[in-house]
């Protein structure tokens, strides 16, 4: 307490008070709507929650809910593994795609404003409920099938797929890539914000660097990896975290749908909390570990 007083005196002390006043809404909101539900949800995940007319009573059960999630519920394990592996593949794809697009959009060409406007349109189109509706739109799939069958299956991608499949090398890896290419729309639509962030980073790189490199005889390809990439590697980390978080909260996420069904339809609050905690801890661990790894490779210019 004494140190506190000596550190903040006079104007500084007044400013510290003002600072607290400014962030007061956040503190209240955080305590009321985040901390309490957060711990309550943790507690409930160990309980059997019984609803009665006027209140709800949690009854301590230990690990029963967690055991239920993993060993009784028929879907949860499968959905969890599927979603997390899908998230990894897609996040990497989204990062690569948005980096690539940002590189192109950073160049000078005619109609750049229009192209930029179109690429950022997904910021609207991929939000909230719309993305979930789009992804299971069967009419589109039917239409695509009709077109494919009417052209008798002549498509370059199909041909390439068969060639690479029959080659028999690394089939699993190819399958993942094919899956991504077939769903390139999902990738493009999810990368609006990431493109903007990368573009911002690209525009802050001083052009003197490129000029110096060019005079020294550096090719464009070399300057991409030796200048551009290190300079925006810190944004790579930001984008990675944003992408993973965004992907894990998407409304067409099957784990989340499952949690909602368990909670709202089956009224099994305990199991729903346990499921969401398992999911949250896994995501957090994933983000933490990958960010640490990426952070090792990030180059800070300042």
């Amino acid at each position: 307490m004494k140190r506190f007083k000596s550190k903040y005196t006079g104007l500084q002390r007044r400013k510290a008070k003002a600072g607290y006043l400014f962030i007061l809404p956040f503190i209240i909101g955080f305590l009321a709507f985040m901390v309490k539900p957060f711990f309550q949800s943790l507690y409930m995940s160990f309980c059997n929650v019984e609803l009665t007319a006027g209140s709800f009573t949690p009854i301590w059960q230990g690990l029963t809910n967690y055991i239920y999630c993993f060993r009784v519920d028929p879907e949860f394990n499968r959905l969890l593994v599927e979603e997390i592996s899908r998230m990894m593949v897609y996040s990497v794809a989204i990062l690569i795609f948005s980096f690539f697009v940002a590189l192109i959009l950073n160049q000078e060409f005619k109609g750049r404003a229009l192209v930029r406007a179109i690429f950022f349109l997904p910021v609207i189109l991929s939000s909230g409920v719309i993305i979930g509706l789009d992804s299971n739109n069967q009419l589109m799939a039917n239409l695509a099938n009709t077109i494919e069958s009417s052209t008798q299956g002549i498509s370059i991608t199909d041909g390439l797929e068969t060639i690479l499949r029959t080659a028999g090398v690394g089939t699993r890896a190819f399958e993942t890539v094919f899956d991504l290419i077939d769903n390139i729309y999902d990738v493009a639509v999810a990368s609006g914000i990431q493109i903007i962030i990368f573009l911002t980073g690209l525009q802050t790189i001083p052009s003197a660097m490129y000029e110096a490199a060019e005079i020294e005889g550096c090719t464009k390809w070399e300057s991409l990896w030796k200048i551009t990439f290190p300079m925006i590697s810190s944004l790579l980390l930001v984008n990675w975290i944003y992408t993973v978080i965004d992907f894990s909260m998407r409304s067409d996420n099957q784990v989340i749908e499952k949690i909602q069904t368990v909670m709202i339809d089956q009224l099994n609050y305990g199991a729903a909390s346990a499921m969401s905690w398992v999911y949250f801890v896994l995501i957090l661990a994933f983000v933490g570990v990958t960010s640490l790894i990426i952070n090792k490779g990030v180059y800070y210019y300042d």
Partner: protein
């Protein structure tokens, strides 16, 4: 060399200059052309990829049911109709939902942005004890999926009781605030709405990039903290305010999670679209009087029409405010 000769030198034909440079010029020019053609093809393809679903929805929304099954009809409907729009509007109770959504999105966005502005400014400019701790809490808010705490928030508002006060005045009963708009406004006022952590982060980044001189001058001239904030800082923060407001508006407009949880009884466009297929089924059943399953194609056609109708206001907004959407994120200069 006179001026005239210099000008003539500039006007030398391309081939001549190429010869002088030893073929380098031609090589470079042709490479540029090839690159720009490749880029044009690639960009056209990717733009088409993004726009195609919208075009597809537009064409499907004008088709009659026959056209959907007609394999010859792909893009342009044979029997042009606007029935789909009328039906979708009726199923979603569109005009009412539109008004509700507009009011709620506008007020929520305004509330969230103004609170986030205060908090973001507090974090950017003031030094106070435990600042790092509170900032870590903000990062935590960004990271925690709202779904994790959903179940207990659900109960929190189902049996709402603030410090036991409600129970005291309401004959020992707790309030059921589910399906009422109030809890969501409370949460927004406490920065716990949809993606509010992100707005705080963006606003803080923005304020940190503004030089402190102006504020110091204001303090020296005897301007209070709050007045400095409203008179000096807010006018400068217009770009970030607009962008956060636009994002908050759009995300609130399309949000399904919070809407479903807190605003279940209010008719909104986002909840309307999520239920449209079920309502279609109920509607058909009511008309025909028998239990019928509707075809996938037809229900998807209505779904496409409905989706189009709810994103249309957003697209119009985007057309006018495109610059603010894009440039504002650049203005915040997000960095770690």
């Amino acid at each position: 060399m006179t001026d005239r000769e210099k000008k003539a030198g500039v006007r030398k034909s391309f081939l001549e200059r190429n010869r002088e440079s030893g073929g380098y010029l031609l090589k470079r020019r042709s490479r540029d052309i090839v690159v720009s053609i490749c880029r044009a093809i690639l960009l056209f393809g990717m733009c088409f990829l993004i726009l195609q679903p919208i075009f597809n929805k537009i064409s499907v929304s004008f088709m009659t049911e026959e056209d959907l099954y007609n394999p010859v009809v792909i893009a342009i409907p044979e029997h042009f109709t606007t029935e789909n729009y009328k039906l979708a509007a009726e199923l979603m109770s569109y005009s009412k939902a539109l008004v509700n959504s507009t009011i709620i999105s506008l007020t929520i966005a305004a509330l969230q942005v103004s609170v986030c502005l205060l908090v973001g400014y507090g974090f950017a400019r003031f030094r106070f004890p435990f600042k790092k701790f509170w900032f870590a809490c903000i990062i935590l808010v960004i990271l925690i999926p709202p779904q994790t705490i959903a179940s207990s928030l659900h109960l929190h508002f189902r049996f709402f009781d603030f410090l036991g006060l409600v129970r005291l005045f309401n004959h020992g009963e707790t309030l059921n605030l589910r399906g009422v708009v109030l809890p969501y406004y409370l949460m927004s006022a406490g920065c716990m709405g949809l993606k509010n952590g992100l707005y705080i982060y963006m606003i803080r980044q923005f304020f940190r990039n503004i030089p402190e001189d102006m504020e110091e001058a204001a303090y020296v001239d005897g301007c209070g903290m709050m007045k400095t904030f409203t008179r000096i800082m807010l006018p400068q923060a217009k770009p970030v305010i607009t962008s956060c407001f636009l994002f908050a508006f759009v995300w609130q407009w399309t949000d399904g999670f919070y809407s479903k949880m807190f605003l279940g009884n209010t008719k909104l466009v986002s909840t309307g679209i999520a239920r449209i297929v079920d309502s279609l089924q109920a509607y058909i059943q009511r008309i025909t009087g028998t239990l019928t399953t509707i075809s996938v194609a037809y229900s998807n056609c209505i779904l496409a029409t409905g989706t189009l109708m709810i994103i249309m206001p957003l697209i119009i907004l985007y057309l006018f405010a495109q610059k603010q959407f894009v440039e504002s994120i650049s203005a915040t200069g997000i960095k770690m």
